[in-house]
């Protein structure tokens, strides 16, 4: 069936309407109904996206522009959507994983006083994310970009009674804003260069009209925006703190969808990055560096969600390394598989937390596989997927990225090596997490009775497990289905190539071997009742994220505070106020000083008159004329 404009527009309008409805009457709906409504809108979106995108699967179909309305008429900017394979893929991931998470949330958020509002925000988020991915130009992209930032803030600080949650929401928003500043400047440059913000126009004309220098500037600024949204160095600090939000939020926004917006954006604007190889290299460099960096931090975390947070940062780094190296398909592939297994990991962690009545510290878990068999099984699938063990999905996508990077040769091989080290660490810390949580002796507190999650939650876990297991088939070297699917979107772009078949086998073996090594090392350290102390200055430093957060607080927050205080006290109170009051004081003082002139004696007033006459006379005489 052809994608109709109505269908595509509905993708956004359904969750948007759902959100509005839930905001209005959500409070009055009895508990599961609000959740069901929220799930319904997103689920319906998934179905519509599947129908609308069917044509792309068969290789037919064409990109469908869906114009909406004239927005900024004086600038010639109009709002509209673009339905092509790339946006279709993103829409499917967002609505598919999104609906599963909505379903799960019905169980997780049970009993929460603001149940309805939660789903309103979640629906709003889905709508915003869809605006972002379906936009036909930078203008609407930016609108979606900002809206997801807003929803992220609302959802992170959902339990705003907790000061930590409120602070985390603020931090996320502010750090995002920093990146957005760069993004906005990039948009201005684009508009200045092309007079339009539409993808078709900008990307179509780019190769002919854009100089390398300008392209480099624009793409670096876009990278700044992407770094903020996708938590790359140095704008990653908000993501670990964002774990204060409810776990479904972490799963949806901070694992599967919002944080991937940066990767999507780089893929979408690939034509610009093709013109600026230096920027592409920077993207890849930043990506792999962040990946390695975050992986080291993840090793030292005690909180189960923080392990996953740093893991997300690390995997996002992989994706950036991929698209930076020109492996757009591989990057999007990893984005998709990561959405599956990371969401699964978070939801599973949520089930664990739910079972242990709020406990999140790994040191107080252990041996949970007996009590939470379904959760444990699905978590194991996710663990193997993220570690890159064949034939699970994570192996295929991660390996494709690494292989493509290797194939580029030269300095890129260094990145390949770093990628392997990161893979080792990934396997290691994920294994550590699983061992500590699910195996070994039980260490949980007295009075805690862990129980398996309700069916509404385990259903989503199961579906995601299946996807994590089998999604690899979508793009194997023998049948690169995703590549063909996405071909129309990446037309005219320089794509990186995979190495020869023989090399690919070798590389695959190396990747799998490294993953296995990580798992075994972790087993040696953490299984069979062994538990290393993980104490000491070095551990502490790494656990605290190398104290980067504290550094930021000292420099920016304190600095900003000092500037604000200066402006308020010195400049405003003393300066401006003083000036205004000073005028009054001045007038009064002058009046007081002049008062003695009024003596009341007429003769003295006469004296004044004569004095004035003398002065006047003298002046006229000095001028020698009137």
């Amino acid at each position: 069936m052809e994608a109709s404009e109505v269908m595509v527009s509905l993708l956004i309008l359904l969750p948007l309407g759902g959100s509005a409805l839930l905001l209005a009457v959500g409070r009055r709906l009895p508990e599961p109904w609000a959740g069901l409504l929220g799930t319904l809108t997103v689920g319906a979106g998934f179905v519509l996206a599947a129908i609308a995108g069917w044509d792309f699967l068969t290789g037919g179909g064409h990109a469908t522009p869906v114009p909406w309305f004239d927005w900024l008429a004086p600038l010639g900017v109009s709002a509209g959507l673009l339905w092509d394979p790339l946006s279709a893929l993103m829409a499917l991931v967002v609505t598919g994983v999104g609906s599963l998470i909505h379903l799960y949330s019905i169980g997780y958020m049970k009993g929460d006083p603001r149940f309805g509002r939660f789903f309103a925000y979640m629906n709003l988020f889905v709508a915003s994310m869809l605006i972002l991915v379906l936009a036909d130009g930078f203008a609407l992209l930016f609108v979606g970009w900002e809206l997801v930032g807003l929803c992220s803030y609302l959802l992170i600080s959902f339990w705003f009674e907790k000061p930590a949650a409120a602070a985390a929401g603020k931090k996320a928003f502010v750090v995002n804003r920093v990146g957005d500043a760069g993004f906005l400047v990039a948009l201005m440059l684009v508009f200045a260069a092309f007079g339009s913000l539409n993808y078709e126009e900008v990307l179509g004309r780019a190769s002919g009209e854009l100089s390398t220098g300008l392209a480099t500037a624009i793409t670096l600024l876009l990278l700044m925006g992407a770094a903020g949204k996708s938590a790359q160095f140095p704008l990653y600090v908000w993501l670990p703190d964002a774990m204060e939000g409810p776990t479904p939020v972490s799963a949806l926004i901070h694992a599967a969808t919002m944080v991937t917006a940066g990767v999507f954006m780089v893929a979408r604007t690939g034509a610009l990055f093709d013109l600026a190889p230096a920027s592409a290299a920077v993207v890849a460099g930043v990506g792999i560096a962040t990946a390695l960096y975050a992986a080291t931090i993840a090793v030292a975390q005690h909180d189960i969600k923080r392990v996953l947070a740093y893991s997300t940062i690390s995997q996002l780094g992989y994706m950036f390394a991929g698209v930076g190296a020109g492996a757009y398909v591989a990057g999007m592939f990893h984005l998709t598989t990561h959405a599956f297994f990371k969401a699964l990991l978070f939801l599973g962690a949520g089930a664990v937390i739910h079972a242990l009545a709020g406990e999140q510290d790994l040191r107080r878990m252990g041996g949970l596989w007996r009590k939470l068999p379904i959760t444990a099984a699905t978590m194991v699938v996710a663990w193997l997927a993220i570690s890159g063990i064949p034939p699970l999905s994570g192996f295929w996508s991660k390996d494709e990225i690494l292989a493509t990077i290797f194939a580029r040769g030269g300095a890129w091989r260094v990145i390949w090596v770093l990628g392997l080290v990161t893979a080792l660490l990934t396997a290691f810390y994920m294994s550590r997490m699983i061992y500590l949580a699910f195996f070994g002796e039980k260490r949980w507190a007295e009075g805690v009775h862990p129980h398996e999650a309700p069916r509404v939650m385990t259903f989503s876990l199961a579906v995601l497990a299946v996807l994590s297991l089998g999604a690899g088939v979508v793009n194997t070297p023998w049948r690169p289905g995703l590549e063909h699917f996405l071909e129309p979107s990446f037309e005219g772009m320089e794509m990186a190539h995979l190495p020869s078949a023989g090399t690919q086998w070798v590389l695959a073996a190396i990747s799998a071997g490294v993953a296995l090594l990580g798992i075994l090392l972790a087993a040696a350290a953490y299984l069979r009742g062994r538990r290393p102390a993980e104490e000491g200055a070095a551990w502490d430093l790494v656990r605290r994220g190398y104290r980067v957060d504290e550094g930021y607080a000292r420099v920016f927050a304190a600095g900003g505070g000092a500037m604000a205080r200066f402006a308020a006290d010195t400049v405003d109170q003393k300066g401006v106020d003083g000036l205004v009051n000073g005028v009054g004081v001045l007038v009064r003082t002058v009046g007081e000083r002049l008062r003695p002139l009024q003596t009341g004696f007429v003769r003295q007033y006469g004296l004044g008159i004569v004095a004035g006459a003398v002065a006047l006379l003298a002046w006229f005489l000095s001028r020698g004329g009137f």
Partner: protein, 101 residues
Amino acid sequence: MTVTAGWYLALAAVIFVIGAGGMLLRRNALVMFMSVELMLNAANLSFVAAGRQLGLLDGQAAVFFVMVVAAAEVVVGLAIIVAVFRRRATASVDELSGLKG
């Protein structure tokens, strides 16, 4: 030597200064007033002298008007002095310092 207009002007200046001195230095209200009259007359004299110098009648017309105004002023001024004297039994202007700031 002929008497030019300049002589009259010089004389007028001297009379004016004398009148001003009287206004500033005497305390008796009536004497002050008379000094003011002196100044007015000095000004009139200079008007007439200048009119002669320039060959115009404008000077004399001006004198005419000055005289009318001076007369009106004297009327009102003396009425005021009388009224004040009735209230305070003094003719000294220094006593009237009620408008002191």
